[in-house]
Symmetry: C2
DNA sequence: TGTACATCAGTGAACGCGCGTTCACTGATGTAC
DNA sequence: TGTACATCAGTGAACGCGCGTTCACTGATGTAC
């Protein structure tokens, strides 16, 4: 009866089970890690026979890919929401801090999905092209707010960088695609700050601050304040 | 005949085979990752029967631990050597750049050992206490050169930080143990720079700069210059 | 120096296990006339 | 509205595989007297 196949009972059941499989697989990530993600174990948890999962995902790697895409989308959505919720859209410092805090919060709430995409690559798994666009989503949020900050005059653009021609053309491409009007030096500062953000989150999550820093929140807050300063005021 | 058991033929053979097992296991890390490291596969590669490996490592996890300890030791030794080779021991900027470059070089030359210790934790494996001291070795190099830089008056110590009491006491412990005379703000800058260093290496190694930055060397060089500046001159 | 004994490396078979994937099948759900 | 047919979800058995770990064993290497 239903013309649109997406609204039929069968289609709805299919969508629901697809989600249930992903949800269970996500839980398994926590127990065993990506490398040990097992279709059979997921099926068992759902009360299905293992071969039934193949109706939904043609292979284990496709399931992994779906989880990776979901993770990238989730962290991107978290950042988008946090930045969009900023009361003063023109205040780039505030938006940056919200952005960074949202990414960290998501990572702390979903440590295994964070590790899945920002930790060591899964051995034997080659990320397919389908993961590229979702991977960029969260970075677009950052580049967008940088561009806004420059446009609003909140970012010092006097800074200069000495670097290779290759880097300059990389930065030019970034500018054309996602950060109109942002000069090379500001983009470079952004890149450095971006790796710093994920470096700090990874260190915290992977235990490298264990026994060294007891107040991770405070350290991260310090990072956000210092990087905001560095982004807007430059090195001097 | 030999009184010292470490010099007997049997003991030497044992030490050699222990090393051979670790070397083969290290190669396997590259192909399959830590989670899939298999005692059987290692034994096969060495032409031994799998049960023979148990004469050398009582379990798969003990072998993993040995690899982790070796990796921490290797990166620490690389940093120590690079810093010690600096012609001007008093030049903290130069030493920092050598230190950072050495860590990155080691990581690029040994990507899977880097991932083993700085990537996502191996699922189901709990790092034993024996890994704690080696893990700190590379950080001691950094803290040492910071302390030297402060003592030599090369580091701006006017900077102040606002942070929690917990962080202040963490920093005080760091100072007492490994960085005498280094004020809180400088230690905090050091921590931020430290996470930035590993964040950049991880991003590069784990493919997050792929398609974005084509000249990783130049970006890293920029990072070293900017962080050296930040370490010594502070935020302003 | 020579012999009896203890130590240790390595063997090969076996244990029980879980994995990804394929395949022919049964029923239930949808579709076309 | 009713019937014949096509589509699809899920079943259960089977494939071949590799894993960690244990165990009784054989021989070679070292040690004590």
């Amino acid at each position: 009866m239903p013309r649109d196949p997406a609204t039929g009972a069968r289609a709805r059941a299919r969508a629901e089970l697809t989600d249930a499989i992903k949800a269970t697989a996500r839980q398994h990530l926590a127990d065993a890690g990506a490398a040990a993600l097992s279709l059979r174990a997921v099926a068992r948890d759902l009360g299905m026979v293992s071969s039934a999962v193949y109706r939904y995902f043609p292979s284990r790697d496709e399931l992994l890919t779906a989880l990776i895409v979901d993770a990238y989308d989730a962290v991107g959505a978290a950042a988008e929401a946090a930045v969009a919720a900023a009361p003063e859209p023109a205040d780039v410092v505030d938006r940056w801090r919200r952005c960074g805090a949202a990414i960290r919060s998501w990572a702390l709430a979903n440590p295994h999905e964070y590790a899945l995409v920002y930790g060591s690559p899964v051995p034997g798994y080659a990320a397919p092209a389908a993961t590229i666009a979702p991977a960029g989503r969260v970075a677009l949020v950052f580049l967008g707010l940088l561009a806004d900050g420059v446009a609003a005059g909140q970012v010092d653009v006097e800074d200069r960088i000495e670097t290779s021609r290759a880097i300059r053309s990389d930065l030019a491409r970034l500018r054309d695609e996602a950060a109109p009007g942002v000069p090379d030096a500001v983009l470079a500062r952004g890149l450095l700050v971006w790796t710093q953000l994920f470096g700090a989150i990874s260190f915290e999550l992977f235990g490298h601050l264990h026994g060294v820093i007891s107040d991770d929140d405070a350290l991260f807050d310090l990072l956000l304040r210092r990087t905001a300063d560095y982004l807007t005021r430059g090195p001097r």
